[in-house]
């Protein structure tokens, strides 16, 4: 069954137009203990051509769980090393939140080792971006996920 946009009920993506996917505006949650980094991730998403209809921010995994319990989101970008609750614990607990079932999580972190990538993907992350990163890298990782590609 095709994934639908939570607001409009219309398909979340249209067929490819040239090389570009035309995406519907999304509701994004950015989880990072650095407010500067949250702004950078937000800007990178917009530079990647992703229109954000609603932006939520959280400073750690526990705050982020509170956000997804109260709000529908379409995409979560999450750091790993954070106080209170780290990113890996967050995605484990995210699986128990009905509101967030199927919401893709992309990790954005300085912990770029192979073991960390494997661990994050095993916990349920759909993508992994190493800091420092460019808007192009965000586009490369996030657009296929939003477009429903495996």
């Amino acid at each position: 069954m095709e994934e639908t946009n939570h607001v409009s009920g219309k398909p979340k993506h249209f067929p490819p137009f040239g090389d570009e996917q035309i995406l519907m505006p999304i509701r994004a949650l950015i989880v990072d203990d650095s407010s500067v980094m949250r702004k950078i991730v937000d800007r990178s998403l917009r530079q990647a051509g992703i229109e954000i209809s609603q932006l939520f921010e959280a400073g750690n995994g526990a705050e982020a769980l509170g956000v997804v319990q109260d709000n529908k989101v379409d995409l979560i970008l999450c750091d790993i090393n954070m106080p209170v609750m780290d990113g890996l614990e967050f995605i484990k607990q995210l699986a128990t939140v009905d509101n967030a079932k199927g919401v893709p999580v992309v990790m954005i972190t300085t912990e770029g080792s192979e073991a960390h990538v494997v661990q994050a993907l095993a916990c349920g992350a759909r993508g992994y971006i190493r800091k420092p990163f460019t808007a192009d890298q965000v586009k490369e990782h996030v657009i296929p996920i939003l477009a429903g590609k495996p």
Binding site: V36, M37, K39, I40, G112, R130, P132, T134
Partner: protein, 162 residues
């Protein structure tokens, strides 16, 4: 990012200096959109009234610090946030320098073969003030580099404890 995969060696780690330099330069290039350049002469005695620090633990134990003048740190925050310099406040300055330090440490360890998995990073800390010195209790080597960020000196130091 440029992969280096420098194997760990044990002779003072001076061969890590180019890796540390590259790791730092990549952070500024990718996240701030600017190039760091090497100063023509060592910037001895240049003021550093703000220092970001990240601890490393595991196969490599130590502290990576980046010190600079507060004006330089404010400009980093301005570039990272994409806002005017005059709109940058102290919390953003500390946050930005801490993140730069965190990314430089992460990028550095990921370039040293075996450290990516075997070394953890602490959350960054930032020290501010006009008159402070940082003393390590461990008798350990340190790798130091000076670079210019928009003509302002920044000092990168990796103190290796074990």
């Amino acid at each position: 990012m440029t992969p280096v995969n420098q194997p760990p060696t044990n002779h003072g780690h001076q061969d890590w200096i180019p890796v540390l330099e590259l790791a730092t330069q990549e952070v500024f290039e990718l996240m701030l959109g600017c190039q760091l350049v090497k100063p023509a002469a060592p910037a001895n005695g240049a003021p550093a009234n703000i220092t970001g620090m990240v601890g490393l633990a595991g196969q490599l134990c130590g502290v990576l610090s980046i010190g600079c003048d507060e004006k330089a740190a404010a400009l980093m925050a301005s570039k990272m946030l994409g806002i005017e310099l005059s709109k940058v406040g102290r919390p953003e300055i500390a946050d930005a320098l801490g993140e730069v330090c965190n990314m430089a440490a992460g990028n550095f360890k990921n370039k040293i073969s075996g450290l990516g998995d075997g070394c953890m990073l602490s959350p960054p800390s930032v020290i501010t003030g006009d008159d402070y010195n940082i003393h390590s209790m461990a008798e350990s080597p340190s790798l130091e580099i000076s670079l210019l960020f928009e003509s302002m000196p920044i000092h990168v130091c990796l103190q290796i404890h074990s």
